[in-house]
Symmetry: C2
Subunit: 201 residues, 2 copies
């Protein structure tokens, strides 16, 4: 089987959410697995100067709020713009990599559940307690999750994941890397599809 | 016939160039005409704080230069990254609206010729003389073009076009407005296509 493709995303990113709902089917169509790699965009934004899409100027702000809704409809996905945008993804990223250490598939389902709760239902998932609730919904022990979120090794692993993403050139969400080729944006999935089909052009 | 769709773009924008090669066929498929509206993004950038795509940080700069080439291949279009990026579009925008006053179709062919020269062949079109050369290639008198570029009424018309674009919410290139619905980016043409088909969702 060919190498897995890398799927980088930030939990607070609507376009990351849209891509998360599409990437598995897209990869499977070409016989590829997907390595989900949530990260914190804040670190990249210190380099690029970019700002969260809900904290913009009077020209872009209304556009993006409309575009989120329109893209959700275009992709056929449930979407609620959370009042708590941008969410703080630190706890969710930590829980993800803690789970992934044990079970990558479980971690993936956790990430999907975080997105479903945040952008599907519009409910905040910033707090450790909310993250523990999501994990509990997948059968994890709430107290064990809350303890893990305070574990220095878990914190370090989450930070290392963001550092590795930036080292790989990731500066936005979603970011898909296929055999070294980098694609930014849910609106590049069509190109990812063709790249997987043809090996490039 | 339904209202024409508005196609806003900046001559220095690769994604505007890609869209310019696609928008007429897309609109015609749905029985629509296209009103081409070149503008100067600099005025919008004063509001958004955005910078030219060739004047970015070490994370985004290499990505965009690669993405320009990859998108050109994806769309099947000739592309040369001009050494003179970003170009100064002032003279081209002035010439466009001066020509449009007399003949909208001629102005459109002029805009296409500017893009073909800049992004197709990689040759700068910032200077009034280069703009006059492009117009001359369409049968215009070079001296008349050069004189028009200095005409205060022509300058005012070009400035008014940029002001009108910003008033319509345009902050990037390309921007397509269909019956009041705004779409930013060459990567939104798929959604424009469906919107024209369905009237929205």
């Amino acid at each position: 089987m060919a190498d897995s493709i890398d799927f980088y995303f930030e939990f607070s990113s609507p376009y990351g959410y849209f891509a998360s709902c599409k990437i598995e089917d897209l990869a499977a169509k070409h016989g590829r697995a997907v390595d989900w790699r949530p990260m914190l965009l804040g670190a990249a934004m210190k380099i690029t100067g970019a700002k969260p899409l809900v904290d913009l100027d009077e020209l872009r702000q209304p556009y993006f709020e409309r575009d989120f809704q329109r893209c959700a409809g275009y992709y056929g996905l449930p979407f609620t713009l959370p009042e708590s945008m941008p969410m703080n993804g630190v706890a969710a990223v930590r829980a993800y990599y803690w789970l992934k250490e044990r079970d990558a598939d479980l971690a993936k389902r956790f990430a999907q559940a975080v997105y479903a709760r945040f952008f599907g239902a519009g409910r905040d998932v910033s707090a450790p307690e909310a993250v523990a609730d999501v994990a509990a919904g997948l059968g994890e022990d709430r107290e064990a999750v809350l303890a893990a979120l305070q574990d220095q090794a878990v914190k370090d692993a989450a930070r290392a994941a963001t550092d590795a993403a930036i080292a790989a050139g990731v500066f936005g969400s979603p970011f898909v890397i296929v055999d070294g080729e980098r694609f930014w944006g849910a609106d590049r999935l069509d190109q990812v599809d063709r790249w997987l089909e043809t090996g490039g052009w």
